[in-house]
Amino acid sequence: MRSAAELSALSALADSGVVGRVSSSGLASQRLLDVSDEVRPLLPRGGLQRGEVVACEGVAAVSMAIAVVAGPSQAGSWVAWAGVPGVNALALHQMGVALDRTVWVGDSEGDAMRGDAAWGDAVWGDVLAALVDGVDVVVVGPGVCGLRPATARRLTARLQNRGAVMVTIDQPVLGADVRLGTSRPVWHGLGHGHGLARGRDLEVEVTGRRSSRAARHPCQLPTPSGRISLPSGAAVAAHRTDREAG
């Protein structure tokens, strides 16, 4: 009898300690952070799983990262941009990211994508750890340089513990649970000396850690209004059969 009571008190402690920690980083009940309708078909689980790393790569890696974080940001999560020099806040806004829940951390004025190596592993390790502690979505860009594999492992462990999500842009050292590769860009709207860029067609290749086959989706990113759109129907169907097969 006594042991039963003890046990319940113990489990109460464990619950309040562990569950309390995750819940306090926001939106406790969900293990899955909601993404926008357009991005949902791209992700194997239909959302961002807390604790996972989503890698954006290729010609439109930054735009893809913006599209991925827009959903959680609208739903109330904070998004931190660490080491993404020059990322354009207007593009974030057009994609629907809530600017009042956005913060940027970086070591240079933003010598775009070149990332001067002023901060090394130690500083970035501390900064990213602090961000993972309090922010739901942390975007890690190429400006984060010199991250050692050991630090990266610690960060991903912390990520799972805290229930945050990392979206990386060309950061292989952090690994990836889901990889979103972008290729074959085709721009519309520009002629020879006339017109205006109206949008870009892309191919997105989705590779999950668990699925061996990659799914390919045509997609428009950005659209004329700066958002993302997937031609519905074909791509989604292809995606489903792919998942069932895998």
């Binding site: 109460a12 600017l99 309090g134």
Partner: protein, 525 residues
């Protein structure tokens, strides 16, 4: 019906106690980049509560800047609570530095309100807590109703004296009338945006609000409006239909076997708080006054009433449990382990929307994010942590610049910060999707035509030739040039022409030519 007489004691700068100032040292305690409390030395230099960090440091360069520590402030406050509780058994502890109790009993016992107040002042100064460097005496307000008493205490606080509002509804209303509406937000938790809306509608004082017809107020501003209106008139802030007090269940946890560490009890209190507040939230109610009781096996008992005008969240309940147990175990050596912890919500109000999400809600996430941001600022400095600040401009790099986090108050409600407006009046900005990456400073590139000569753009926007290569990359398509001629009236004039270019690799670049040199300004990545 008048409201019962309330007494409120309030130290305006209690938070600074935690910073343990030496005599005459200017110290300010801050939270979310705002001064929460400061010492008289800092005040003499012109630092005030609510100042931003830069403003405060500008006025007083020697200022010691300490982050707020509610736990230490609560510990320092404990002797005061204990001293007053000897005199007034049932009192409500608000944030550290504030106490409230009903005047009726003690004033009879001590022979009138004045005598009671003298006695309270004696007792409090007898504790010798008034630490060096802060105001030796609290403000003491006595009035009908908690809100009026709070306000009276704040009026008295600057002078370290007491302020009596004569009894009666008329006198209370007359006392409240000239005060700013901001008091409703500061003292009674009325939503800031509602107060701001009233201010913009031209209602400046509580009197202005009280003069409105209650029917109009309920029609236009709903429940929060009605509550604020009642407060402004000095009436009971419980709307008539809630005059029957809402009862809420008591939650408790019996420890079997008793526990000897306060930490364990604090852990359990989180669960109790979630259970209690979750039940209330499900019914759309929130708790504004809470009695926390702890008992030991040998019958030792600690009971204290805590108040919070904006309603308790889980974190704030846990905090209070920790403060209370901490103070209790310091005060007397307990002879046995804690066997019972009980939370009794004695005042429950309908949630009128002023209460942010209890857990996992927006504000909790905001709070955590703010803490993380503060930590990162501490690690790398303010310059390296930035937030977007929509500004507007013709050139893409000016539209939404990133500004250092210190120049914006993250605690501000989002509505107080501007958002980029689509189609804002900036003729000459390039429409369409915004590039995802800006190069700042721009990167110099070479733009040549088919003959290999650098492309020139004349004063009227005519080009010497079609661009054929950008840094050796063939050009597939291009549009422009779009001239921009900014600030021609000033010394910072900027005259340039812009070009959109798609290269062979499918990159879309935004180029700018000025003074015959080409720059890569932005691109889509």
């Amino acid at each position: 019906m008048g409201r019962p007489r309330h007494v409120v004691l309030w130290w305006p700068h209690w938070g600074v106690v935690a910073a343990t100032p030496v005599d005459g040292e200017p110290v300010a305690v801050w939270h979310a980049h705002r001064v929460l409390a400061c010492t008289p030395a800092a005040r003499a230099e012109g630092v005030r509560i609510g100042h931003r960090r830069r403003e405060a440091q500008g006025r007083c360069p020697l200022l010691r800047w300490e982050s707020a520590d509610p736990d230490r402030a609560a510990r320092a406050f404990e002797p005061v609570v204990r001293a007053v509780i000897e005199m007034v058994p049932r009192l409500e502890v608000g944030d550290p530095g504030s106490l409230a109790f009903l005047a009726r009993g003690p004033s009879r016992y001590f022979g009138g309100e004045e005598a009671m107040v003298r006695r309270v002042v004696e007792v409090v100064s007898g504790t010798g807590v008034a630490p060096v460097g802060i105001d030796p005496l609290p403000g003491l307000g006595v009035a009908d109703g908690r809100f009026a008493a709070d306000l009276a205490a704040r009026l008295a606080a600057g002078r370290g004296s007491s302020f009596f509002v004569p009894p009666g509804a008329e006198a209370t209303r007359a006392f409240l009338a000239p005060h700013s509406l901001a008091a409703l937000h500061d003292l009674a938790g009325v939503p800031a945006d509602l107060v701001d809306l009233w201010r913009r509608l031209g209602l400046r004082t509580l009197g202005d609000l009280a003069a409105l017809d209650p029917a109009d107020v309920v029609g236009r501003f709903g429940r929060p409006g009605v509550r604020a209106h009642l407060l402004a008139r000095g009436d009971d802030d419980r709307p008539p239909d809630e005059r029957v007090p809402l009862v809420a269940p008591v939650v408790e946890h019996a420890f079997e076997p008793p526990i000897h560490h306060a930490d364990a009890a604090v852990f359990v209190s989180r669960q109790l708080a979630e259970q209690l507040l979750g039940g209330l939230a499900a019914e759309g109610r929130l708790c504004t006054r809470l009695v926390i009781t702890a008992e030991t096996e040998h019958g030792e008992r600690s009971e204290r009433c805590w108040g919070r005008s904006t309603g308790f969240g889980v974190a704030s309940v846990v905090e209070r449990v920790r403060w209370q147990l901490d103070g209790w175990s310091r005060q007397q050596s307990l002879t046995a382990g804690i066997s019972l912890l009980r939370l009794d919500p004695v005042e429950v109000r309908r949630d009128t929307g002023m209460q942010p999400g209890l857990w996992g809600g927006r504000t909790q996430a905001d709070d955590w994010a703010q803490r993380a941001i503060t930590r990162v600022v501490g690690l790398v400095g303010e310059e390296h942590v930035r937030v977007p600040a929509p500004a507007g401009g013709r050139r893409v790099q000016h539209e939404v610049p990133w500004v250092p986090v210190g120049s914006i108050d993250l605690a501000d409600p989002p509505a107080a910060r501007p958002s980029p407006s689509e189609g804002s009046p900036w003729p000459g900005r390039i429409p369409g999707p915004a590039p995802s990456v800006l190069h700042d400073p721009p990167v110099e590139v070479s733009v040549v035509d088919t003959s290999g000569a650098v492309v020139r753009v004349g004063g009227r926007g005519e080009m010497s030739g079609a661009p054929a290569q950008v840094d050796g990359d063939p050009v597939r398509a291009w549009a422009g040039p779009w001239p921009v001629d900014e600030r021609w009236w000033s010394g910072r004039a900027h005259r340039a022409a812009r070009l959109q270019v798609v290269t062979g690799a499918g990159r879309l670049l935004l180029l700018e030519v000025t003074g015959g040199r080409w720059w890569l300004v932005a691109e889509h990545r």
